[in-house]
Point group: C2
Chain length 702, copies 2
């Protein structure tokens, strides 16, 4: 019980860090009146969008909560509500910090690069720590209440279903937030570029473009709020799944050690909050202008300090690193094996970051090959970009496979779970790096629109240059960890199946054709989901183009610079479009497992229905991993290939190569910011719904 | 034995049809001297390319034959050589017919649309019947020699290994041919477009463009020779796998019926050759200009006539439709169940053709949505094209799943095999429709270069308009059947495993992490393969651009029209590039199963190595199906969106929308003609290599 309370304390520490740092950021200068006016418009648009989005999601959430309550009881429904509300809160906080720091970053950049970096990174760090802290607190407090005051056994079915309900709430909200925000941000971005840069030949972020505020709002609601909700979900699901799997697989062997083992993931999470906070203080430029280097310093300090702290956490929880945890069937393993698995998780995080930087950084072959291909036109730019996006799946997959094998050899399935937990424990720092991006992106936009000195924009551009890479890094990290977490959820599915339906004879062998059917259906989901996301962005961006053309036509004063465009009208239009478009694709992963189960049940009986459903879960992991990795890395590479050309290579800005690179960037936008990242919550929702379905069927049967 | 001889007779009938029809086509007018000169240059280039390609493949083939011979003995090595040589011959014939019919089609189109259609379709039909006939003869004669004169039992290991060797030979050659030809055709096409249409602003097929002959050569060596080798392979592997699976699974139950059951797929193939030949005579325009309708008439006649013939074939082979074939473990099934499974295969073919037409035809939403998205620029065209390419996987997958379930419920795994066999039995007709495309494409090019009357080009354009759809249809058909055939091969793998290693305890359950590792590795292969193919096209197209720019710079007379460009130099350059680039990706699926087996063997022992290898086979099917379907349908849709705009929609030729659509078409080129279709042989090679590896390991162990 101590362990849980310590974890709660460390979670609160993250919140305190967030509050203190918020004050520091908010006390910084918010710039001149024009800057504040622009920032105000962005803030208002973002607020309006999130309000509308969460109202819509709220309706779905209430329906889902009632269904969970009816099917599984009060505690899982409460868990669902906690997960859902806090996932929403994480998004809100991310957005709120971001829309206040952007203008302050622009103002600070007037003083110098280090000053700009400080504000922007602190803003990111606030979001990061609050996401990690809220996620940790959500599970730890909920778990504490269940096994403390309510005196339930840690492996009581109510506890397990409660944790699954919590994960479901977080996932359901986050897929809507990721997708809705993703559609908003890219529809606005693509629409603004098409009608501004291409048709009207005015620069990006030009105040005459009616879509420019919508574009900046998008950074906050998509890249910031959507991302924060997504990482909150990833954290809750991974840590929760590790706890559930421990309860399902090891209740008997562990005895009194069950509670400490279930609390251990929380403690590891808490320990890494401490190291993440320390790490944030190491993000400084030193003498040069190597922004990425400063970021890495912070990350490396966090990860390296995590090693001893995780060691002590495990030792403290288990009493002895040589405690035999499982004398059982697959492998015998001890406390120290869990430590090694955690190291695998940390190493996997580092390697994925490195691979992502290779594929999306301007210093390496992939981005440069796309830039070079731009010389021969739009077509070759896109061909090379697609080739890179396909290729970029290879190394992460091989590293993930190595991690799976390593963790499994050390400690079986639970080793995999602890590897994933250690990965996610670093979320505070990783989110900090990511949330920094939209702040600097906005700061640049504000500097442009407020017509600040060109040197300010230069500095914000320098700060923003690493933003594409850090954004891609988080997505690679989230999807990589999702792969592991989903395998843990799949293990929970099979364990639950044996528990609930001991008489069932489910054949998960690849030789069972219903397994093949499930694999194919599962692999189809990310394709269909991606198609819907891409189509939505294209359609909404088209609406933006029509709206802006209309504004230009009705008021020639806009282009002349004498009258102000109606920014709010465009924001409102994108808001409506994004909310309308997010519904159907988000429901796809919720309904697919249920429909699959009942259709196969009808055709081939319950055993085959369970087999097909299980295979669907793995199919969605296998298919989704590749779709998500290729989209996120490919999109980042396209974006940076454009930046590389803008830095004066292959003819620089305005050249034919640059035009081709803009096309590639546009294509990459919905790839990397809409369809790709939303695959992460999608994979997990499918798995969680299957778990809930099992519990509901068992409830009905018993 | 009668059955085999009848099949041989029907295979010979296809050859006779080919020879007789060849004479008809060759006796048609070959046009004026200028046309013959151009056709001669194309013919020479195609011949030179194929000679060089087959020389290179020959070296790989000899090495592979020696390895097969050493590992498995003389008969499998002979089978390998037969498969390899005939796959090459199929490609040669396809190319040779095509390069002679193109100019005759152009000459015939001077007289009228029906005349042009007749020549072009007959050319396609020759290739189709020779591909199907050669494939049928290859297996039937080989099988006859083994079980007749050599007096081996039909389920003798030598027979089984011989059939697998035959399939391996066909597959290995066809992946090289598909990929090499695909790289050639798209590098030339993309390069010619970039430097001609985009840079020099001269129309497609303008004789001043030095890459124009290379572009036309590409149609013949890629779309024709490569496709013919590919479909030859698909036929041989599917029919061969059905025979092998019958021998492995049902030897004991069938008794005297084993030989007729193994010969039955050959008889079904033979029966459908008859209906395909009849079908070709129904491809006529009637009163209108509905070329696609004429094609459909031919296909429908072929498929409908196939129903009674397959019925009689099964009845003749088994004596009675109620014969119990398998009283065994999964389902009891009878002769008539195999008939129903064949109907599923025929229906699947029809439905896939229909879905492909929906996704690639200019009359439906997908293509029109891409055309509309072109109005807002290059970026939105590509976004919508990618969305359609992702979406286009859904319906085929669901239909394939339904077919798997249906066939399995009727007759288990062998039902699946017979479904796939019935699908492939229609190959003669399907190849005819496909091979027609490059002939009309070339005819248009020749009409343009020979400066024939514009009305001729109009007619060839009308004939060519359906070419994109028929080409996409074959690819969807090939990959769909590959999905089924690969499942049959996977079943053969597991059956072989039990036979060779009865003491092994291989756990194919999804709960085994090595199964997950295998699935991930398998799904990675098509991504990596696709990346390599796309990169190769981009690189080679870049070389073409450089070469053409150089020719323009050194001889201003070319653009002035006073001197002839050096076509051969460009052909030679693309030839070298294509051959260099095809090697590594083609070896990927050959080496991956072997490396996977030995690495996992080293880490986790033989049982897990077998499990991972089996899962890799399924992973490559699951991953490859989606990659291939999305690439081939997406590419076709992009191409036809451009055609739709050229027909005068959204601003027509020369508009901004048209420029955007040209970009989409360029992107779709390597998607649909290089990377996508080559996934089909890739999937099967991986499976066949695994079968050979098992046999080799068993040989070493015994």
């Amino acid at each position: 019980m101590d362990l849980i309370l310590i974890s709660i304390g460390l979670g609160l520490l993250a919140i305190v860090y967030g509050i203190v740092t918020s004050r520091q950021v908010l006390s910084a200068s918010a710039g001149n009146a024009r800057m504040q006016e622009i920032a105000g418009a962005i803030q208002e648009g973002a607020q309006a969008y999130l309000n509308r989005q969460y109202t819509t999601i709220g309706i779905v959430g209430v329906v889902a909560a009632v269904i969970v309550g009816l099917a599984l009881g009060v505690v899982p429904a409460v868990g669902f509500v906690i997960g859902a509300v806090l996932s929403g809160v994480a998004g809100y906080i991310g957005m709120n910090i971001s829309v206040r720091s952007n203008v302050r970053t622009a103002a600070a950049a007037e003083k110098g690069l280090q000053e700009g970096l400080t504000i922007a990174f602190r803003a990111g760090a606030i979001t990061g720590m609050l996401v990690a802290g809220l996620a940790l607190l959500a599970i730890a407090v909920f778990f504490y209440v269940l096994v403390g005051p309510m005196q339930l056994a840690p492996n009581d079915r109510i506890v397990i279903d409660g944790l699954v309900g919590l994960a479901f709430g977080a996932s359901l909200i986050s897929i809507f937030a990721r997708l809705g925000g993703g559609i908003f941000t890219k529809a606005a971005d693509v629409g603004a570029d098409l009608v501004g840069k291409v048709e009207a030949s005015i620069p990006e972020d030009d105040p005459r473009n009616p879509a420019t505020i919508a574009d900046n709002v998008g950074d906050n609601v998509g890249d910031c709020a959507g991302m924060a909700a997504d990482l909150f979900e990833t954290y809750v699901v991974t840590v929760g799944a590790t706890m559930v799997l421990t309860a399902l697989l090891f209740s008997e062997q562990l005895g009194d050690l069950l509670l400490p083992m279930m609390a251990l993931p929380l403690l590891i999470g808490g320990a890494c909050i401490v190291t993440s906070i320390i790490g944030t203080y190491f993000v400084r430029l030193g003498n040069g202008t190597n922004v990425m280097g400063a970021m890495y310093k912070g990350f490396i300090v966090t990860a390296v300090l995590a090693i001893p702290l995780i060691y002590f956490a495990i030792q403290y929880a288990l009493g002895d690193m040589n405690t035999v945890l499982n004398p059982g069937d697959v492998v015998e393993f001890h406390g120290r094996d869990l430590f090694y698995c955690s190291l695998i998780g940390l190493a996997l995080t580092g390697i994925i970051i490195w691979i992502t930087e290779y594929y999306t950084g301007t210093n390496y072959r992939p981005v440069r090959s796309i830039a070079k291909a731009s010389e021969t036109g739009h077509g070759t730019n896109v061909i090379q970009g697609l080739a890179i996006s396909l290729e970029s799946t290879a190394l992460p997959t091989i590293v993930i496979i190595a991690a799976i094998i390593g963790a499994y050899q050390l400690a079986g399935l639970i080793g995999l779970a602890f590897g994933a937990t250690a990965m996610l424990a670093l979320a505070g720092m990783v989110v900090a790096l990511d949330a920094y991006g939209p702040v600097t992106d906005n700061a640049g936009g504000i500097a442009e629109m407020a017509e600040l000195d060109a040197s300010v924009r230069e500095k914000t551009d320098l700060l923003d240059a690493v933003g594409n890479t850090t954004k891609a890094v988080t997505k690679g990290y989230a999807i990589g960890s999702a792969g592991l977490a989903a395998l843990v959820l799949f293990a929970a599915y099979t364990a639950d199946l044996r528990l609930f339906f001991p008489e069932a004879n489910v054949n998960f062998s690849l030789e069972n054709p219903y397994v093949i059917v499930g694999l194919l259906l599962g692999a189809l989901l990310p394709y269909l989901f991606g198609a819907m996301g891409m189509t939505a962005v294209g359609r909404a961006a088209g609406d933006v183009v029509v709206d802006v053309r209309d504004q230009f036509a009705n008021d020639p004063g806009i282009m002349a610079g004498t009258s102000r465009p109606d920014y709010a009208r465009t924001v409102d239009l994108v808001t409506k479009a994004a909310i309308k478009e997010m519904i159907v694709p988000s429901l796809l992963p919720v309904l697919a497992p249920i429909v699959t189960y009942f259709v196969i049940l009808w055709i081939a009986g319950q055993d085959n229905a369970f087999a097909a459903l299980g295979a669907l879960l793995l199919g969605v992991i296998v298919g989704g991993l590749f779709v998500a990795l290729s989209m996120t890395a490919g999109g980042g590479a396209w974006d940076n290939a454009k930046k590389y050309i803008e830095d004066g290579n292959h003819g620089g800005k305005g050249s034919e190569a640059h035009k081709a690179a803009v096309t590639g960037d546009t294509v990459g936008d919905p790839y990397k910011d809409t369809a790709g990242p939303a695959v992460n919550p999608m994979i997990k929702i499918t798995n969680i719904v299957a778990l809930l379905l099992l519990a509901a069927l068992a409830g009905g049967a018993h």
